[in-house]
């Protein structure tokens, strides 16, 4: 076993174990953290397969941004675990049938008959100067340019729709809004008024006799 193979098996085992833990662990926050580990180890496997751009972007986008937002939601929810698991066994038979059916369909499409070196052929091994970034970017911006732009517009529409659905401006009578531009432009002279006044001298208080106990 070469060093690369050793690293590959470590990463692959990590991906499988953490993927299994995602669905078995009880605490949702811990499940999300296991999912993060699954992403990181998958990114490692991709980098081993000379797809370093995809691997690093997987970490950057999913681990660095998506999962953080996911964790925010999961952490702030007040989930009662005991209640959540009530009636879990009631749907066991139905769930088992659905799971077996899904697995059967996946096996038909992704089964060993369709994969392996005999079917796909040996993978191309690129030299050290191979840049995965350029290899992805060139077809993306030339042959698939329209599809790429279309996907970008779709995402933009998604963002606009999400903001339009959730934005809720209420009348200024109900809620106090801060005018940040005004706050930022505030000068000291707007807030502070210098007042000239005569000095007031306090009279000396009569000295108190010290209490003795």
């Amino acid at each position: 076993m070469t060093f690369e193979q050793f690293i590959f098996y470590v990463l692959a085992a990590m991906a499988v174990v953490s993927g299994f833990m995602v669905i078995t662990v009880r605490n949702p926050v811990k499940a999300a953290l296991w999912l993060v580990l699954a992403f990181i180890s998958t990114a490692g496997v991709w980098i081993m397969a000379q797809a370093e751009f995809l691997g690093l972007v997987l970490i950057l986008v999913y681990v660095g941004a998506v999962m953080v937002l996911f964790l925010f939601v999961v952490m702030m929810l007040d989930i009662n675990l005991a209640k959540l698991k009530e009636g879990f066994t009631r749907y066991l038979s139905l769930g088992a049938i659905a799971a077996i059916a899904t697995f059967g369909m996946m096996y038909m499409v992704l089964g060993p008959a369709h994969f392996g070196l005999e079917v796909t052929g040996a993978p191309v091994v690129h030299g050290p100067d191979y840049s995965n970034t350029a290899a992805i970017a060139v077809p993306l911006y030339t042959t698939h340019a329209y599809a790429f732009v279309l996907a970008a517009v779709l995402l933009l529409v998604g963002i606009v729709a999400a903001i339009a659905l959730t934005i809720r401006r209420r009348a200024p009578k109900e809620v106090l809004y801060q005018n940040i531009d005004k706050q930022v432009k505030t000068q000291a002279s707007d807030r502070l008024r210098m007042v000239k006044m005569e000095a007031v001298v306090e009279k000396d208080l009569p000295e108190k006799e010290e209490e003795s106990k």
């Binding site: 070469t2 690093l56 972007v57 681990v63 941004a65 964790l71 706050q183």
Partner: protein, 353 residues
């Protein structure tokens, strides 16, 4: 040099063992100087801010207080580590590890001089962005595992701030790699050859400012250190940490400060290139300065700016901080990406020699 070590070791060891030992040596060669720099930086911070505020700073331990960071380290290491009741012990320990590990792993692709780099990969910028985006988990997990409301609020604030400013930071780097035409850090420096006017500083001046400001926010430095706003949430996400577990968070923060300074120097200030290239007298006058000397000088100056800002500015308010990130810095970067794209397309710009 490391290939020679590996070849020598594999003559009498297993191949994989030789690789592992070489990797460990490489890691140590990079990490130890960084840790020493962190130590000196904590001392410099206290001294610089001290003098700016007309006081002495640390001056009791050793001559001129030079041994103060060592004393601090011994104090932190011998202090008891307290675990809050009902906290998640495993995650409580993992959180500081998660914040120091990426801060150290990033250094694998940073070039210190021409050819002096642990791993000269061609997706260097992407690697740095990806690995430093894992840093945010240190904050989140620390806040959640502490089982404390202040820590949790600090973690939410901190991670929201970090992922917001990461976008502006990423866009600023996109403009750099657009004009450099490469994501390899050594090639980016090589593209800035030819004196101070050919650095990316002038054509990308707004991006330089944006990158440095986002760097301040990423590393939780004043004026963006609302993560640990003492007046509001005690000490933020690490309020429950004591002893060395707290020390590790500080170590990671200072290591990231040095990293941001290195990145700014490499991206915008010409890395190890002399500013006087092509100027007749000055070039020969400063020819004795080694490549790393210039880089170290630029990095030291940027680190001084970090400390200078801390001594100068009060803390931002949280909503103003988010507004600055999303409504000021990100639009500026997006506009500048288009400007640089247009300049590249029409072959217009000072960087085309």
């Amino acid at each position: 040099m490391f290939d020679a070590i590996q070849a020598f070791l594999s003559t009498f060891l297993f191949d994989w063992l030789a690789i592992v030992i070489t990797l460990v040596i490489q890691a140590l060669v990079v990490i130890l100087p960084i840790m020493i720099t962190v130590m000196l930086l904590t001392y410099a911070e206290r001294k610089v801010i001290g003098y700016m505020q007309v006081r002495m700073g640390p001056n009791r331990v050793g001559p001129g207080g030079w041994f103060q960071p060592i004393a601090d380290a011994i104090k932190l290491m011998t202090k008891e580590v307290i675990f809050p009741r009902q906290s998640n012990k495993f995650l409580f320990i993992v959180a500081p590890v998660l914040s120091i590990a990426p801060a150290v792993a990033v250094w694998a692709v940073i070039p210190f001089s021409p050819e002096v780099v642990v791993s000269d990969i061609n997706a260097g910028i992407l690697y740095i962005l990806a690995v430093s985006s894992i840093l945010v988990y240190g904050t989140i997990i620390a806040g959640w595992a502490s089982n404390s409301k202040y820590a949790f609020l600090g973690a939410l604030r901190g991670s929201a701030q970090k992922i917001s400013y990461e976008i502006a930071m990423g866009f600023a780097l996109v403009t750099v790699l657009m004009i450099a035409g490469s994501m390899n850090l050594s090639e980016i420096v090589a593209g800035q050859q030819g004196g101070i006017l050919n650095w990316y500083l002038l054509p990308l001046l707004p991006m330089f400012v944006v990158y440095f400001l986002s760097g301040l926010a990423e590393t939780n430095r004043t004026p963006f250190d609302i993560v640990e706003g003492e007046a509001e949430i005690v000490a933020g996400f690490h309020v429950e940490y004591s002893g060395m577990t707290f020390g590790v968070f500080m170590l990671a923060e200072y290591a990231m400060m040095i990293l941001i300074s290195f990145m700014t120097a490499i991206m915008f200030l010409g890395g190890w290139l002399s500013p006087f290239e092509g100027i007749p007298v000055l070039e020969t006058l400063f020819a004795w300065v080694p490549a790393f000397g210039w880089l170290a000088f630029k990095v030291s100056f940027l680190l001084f700016v970090f400390l200078w800002l801390r001594a100068t500015f009060p803390r931002y308010r949280y909503d103003q901080l988010m507004r600055l990130g999303w409504k000021v810095l990100i639009p500026v970067t997006i506009v500048w990406v288009f400007v640089v794209g247009a300049m590249q397309y029409f072959k217009f710009g000072p960087w085309f020699n």
